[in-house]
């Protein structure tokens, strides 16, 4: 009995395997197969856009592979090391410099010149994230930036009628909200385990964050120290609690309870707040452009972009897929499915976006969004920014000490980059 059931099981497994193999071979129908990797939720729902593309391009079949966001970077690097990269992928904007530096990305200028995608239609900051050393290496798919979500009712109760436009007004508003809500609640949440709030405030200064072509940190600049001082003051005044995101139950509940009045976050939270807040609060919150030192200021241009990998032999077919997903009508449809914000201005003419009150602030903010410094080491530098910022608001460092410490850490991280740039410069000098 036992033996026979074992044999039966093996036979079933074998049959299954043969079936799978047959399934594979059946799909080989002469069409060009474009392998496409995308991350997270977007990677899941983009499958809905494939049928229309395959109808329009009968010679191409899209093979979609979804990557979990937390493992995507690692998987892409591993695939690069193992020579197993797909033809096209959507990667985080901040990863573009890194993959360009290791020579994985195909240049796109020549393809853009042939038309289809008009760079001028894109928000400048978003488009700029894909331009490395003057060459286009990535085309934005969806963009995000950070701006404050705020509780209109709390601000009104505190006597603030219009959302603040600059830092001075913002400080007045935070002070008023804090006075109104008392010692148990706060004016703003700036989670200490995120670098984004501080980084977005830093982008508003005229001084670049790195100097000498990304060779050294520029955090001792007057502008950055002004940002640090503003950030530190928010905590010192007691307007923001010194907590990480992991220490509150979750931002949606706490926002609903009025634990804080302002929260700097991205466009995905429009849908989240809409869904998770109780219905009697649906009118009580709104979005606003990020206040800058003197009037509405810049912010970080984030999101994901398409890249073609240099080793792919099917770049033409892959480009057709990118061009399709970049069409304004497809982008508007994609917004309908995911809530992601399109990077092209013309896609914003779609009624769903034009009439969305919460998206309007993002539309305005995206015009001012800027790319972070385009060095491969940037994510790590941003992490140090968070760590030093956390030490500073906990009183372990003054503003000036924090700026010096941040420069010291950044210069150490960029050591290898300096060595490589110097070597490249020497190599050019020595060549005949």
């Amino acid at each position: 009995m036992h033996l026979r059931s074992t044999i039966a099981r093996w036979a079933a497994a074998l049959a299954l395997l043969l079936g799978v193999l047959a399934g594979c071979s059946r799909q080989d129908d002469g069409r060009t197969v474009v392998r496409f990797w995308a991350m997270g939720f977007e990677g899941q729902v983009v499958a809905q856009l494939i049928p229309q593309f395959e109808r329009e391009h009968p010679g191409i079949r899209i093979e979609l592979q979804q990557l979990p966001i937390t493992a995507a970077h690692e998987k892409l690097l591993t695939a690069f090391a193992g020579d197993a990269l797909p033809d096209v992928a959507a990667i985080g904007n901040t990863w573009v410099p890194e993959f360009a530096a290791i020579g994985a990305l195909a240049p796109l200028d020549a393809r853009l010149a042939s038309g289809g995608i008009a760079p001028v239609d894109y928000f400048e900051g978003g488009w700029d994230t894909g331009v490395i050393d003057g060459q286009v290496r990535a085309v934005p798919w969806y963009v995000e930036t950070r701006l404050p979500f705020y509780r209109r009712d709390l601000l009104a109760e505190a006597g603030i009628d219009a959302p603040p436009r600059d830092w001075a007004q913002w400080r007045d508003a935070m002070a008023a909200v804090k006075r109104h809500v008392g010692p148990e609640r706060y004016a703003i949440l700036l989670p200490l385990n995120e670098f984004e709030p501080l980084l977005n405030l830093a982008m508003q200064q005229p001084d670049p964050l790195l100097r000498d072509g990304g060779r050294y940190g520029n955090f001792r600049s007057d502008g950055f120290r002004r940002t640090l001082a503003f950030y530190k003051d928010i905590f010192d005044q007691g307007w923001a609690p010194r907590v990480a995101n992991t220490q509150i139950s979750n931002v949606w509940d706490e926002f609903g309870r009025g634990y804080f009045g302002f929260y700097i976050s991205g466009p995905w939270n429009i849908a989240e707040f809409g869904r998770r807040l109780p219905s009697d609060l649906s009118e009580a919150w709104a979005t606003m452009p990020l206040p800058g030192p003197d009037g509405p200021g810049a912010s970080v241009a984030g999101g994901a972009s398409f890249v073609l990998f240099d080793g792919s032999p099917r770049k033409d077919a892959a480009w057709a897929w990118v061009a399709y997903l970049s069409r304004p009508d497809v982008q508007a449809r994609f917004h309908g499915i995911t809530g992601n914000l399109p990077p092209r201005r013309s896609a914003w003419n779609a009624p769903a976006l034009r009439d969305d009150a919460h998206a309007r602030a993002f539309r305005e903010q995206l015009e001012r969004a800027r790319a972070t410094p385009k060095v491969p080491e940037w994510e790590r530098i941003a992490t140090e920014l968070r760590l030093v910022g956390e030490e500073m608001v906990n009183g372990r460092l003054t503003v000036d000490e924090a700026a010096v410490e941040l420069d010291r850490r950044t210069d150490a991280i960029l050591e290898k980059r300096r060595w490589m740039l110097d070597r490249a410069a020497q190599g050019q000098g020595a060549a005949p």
């Binding site: 690692e74 690097l77 690069f80 090391a81 890194e98 530096a101 290791i102 020579g103 994985a104 200490l192 385990n193 010194r242 907590v243 990480a244 992991t246 220490q247 139950s249 491969p376 790590r380 760590l387 956390e390 030490e391 906990n394 372990r396 290898k416 060595w419 490589m420």
Partner: protein
């Protein structure tokens, strides 16, 4: 054929496995730790620099490395004795003739060991929540002000230690229980006839007889606790103020987050040397005391 050759031949398969799966990777990691291998080198091996002991010297100058080392030692020095004491106490209770519902408690104490760290850590994060957590609610009931368990740099590591000890003590408890059951009853009988109290019996019969078991448990627990990673990774991500960054967590960030594999290998090697030294020292002490 000489007998020694035959011996080597018989041992050859096992030795080959050890060479391929242990010696070779260790040597490769050692070689890696002498270079600055990173993503640039991954792209083009020409970007690889031999840095000698540069990675090690860099770590010596890195305050975060010392903090991670300090955090790890804090965790080991408090956590290991606490864990062993708790395991032994639980084992004694379960072994005692006075105990009731022994199978139930044996299972209950062992249950945390087989749970998933991540799932349980999430539950603990709720228990130790500053404003909504059960722990602070109970403390408030007896008039103690709320403690910011995971948000205060002074409290985060003790909370992690509590969690790790609770999670792991059941495993050692089972080993101790086996050790206790192996102690012949007539030794206690003789001690009782000589008029030894319960405490004296424990000191002069139980503890010495548990010597070898104790040594094994100590070594296993030490090496496990030195590799602290999952608890801070899930509960605090190294924060607040990097008070829960362990050596292994540092290695993970260097290696798999930032792809500085040279640096990460150096961290791993230092941890390896520390663990080997301490284990050897423990064995040496045990040998002198004749416990082995």
């Amino acid at each position: 054929m000489k007998p020694s050759t035959a011996g080597w031949l018989f041992a050859a398969p096992a030795l080959a496995v050890i060479a391929v799966f242990f010696a070779l990777p260790v040597l490769a990691a050692l070689a890696l730790s002498l270079t600055d291998f990173d993503i640039y080198a991954l792209a083009d091996i020409g970007n690889l620099r031999f840095v000698g002991l540069g990675n090690y010297l860099g770590l010596m100058r890195n305050p975060l490395f010392w903090q991670a080392l300090g955090n790890t030692f804090y965790f080991v020095l408090v956590g290991v004795p606490l864990s062993i004491a708790l395991s032994l106490a639980a084992a004694l209770l379960l072994h005692s003739r006075l105990g009731v519902f022994k199978p139930f408690f044996r299972t209950a104490y062992f249950a945390p060991v087989v749970t998933t760290v991540v799932a349980v850590a999430v539950v603990w994060r709720y228990l130790f929540h500053t404003r909504y957590g059960l722990v602070n609610w109970v403390l408030a009931g007896i008039g103690i002000d709320p403690v910011d368990w995971l948000g205060d740099p002074d409290w985060a590591m003790p909370t992690i230690i509590l969690f790790a000890v609770w999670k792991n003590f059941g495993y050692n408890m089972i080993i101790f229980l086996a050790g206790l059951q192996a102690i012949p009853e007539d030794l206690y009988e003789a001690a009782r006839i000589d008029g030894a109290s319960r405490w004296r019996q424990f000191l002069h019969v139980t503890l010495p007889m548990l010597g070898p078991v104790m040594l094994m448990v100590a070594i296993l627990t030490l090496s496990g606790y030195f590799q602290l990673f999952a608890e801070p990774y899930v509960m605090t991500q190294g924060g607040p103020l990097q008070s829960t960054v362990s050596v292994l967590y540092l290695m993970y960030e260097e290696g798999f987050k930032w792809w500085n594999l040279g640096n990460a290998s150096a961290v791993a090697f230092i941890l390896f040397v520390i663990m080997a030294t301490i284990t050897y020292g423990l064995l040496w002490v045990a040998r002198r005391k004749g416990a082995e």
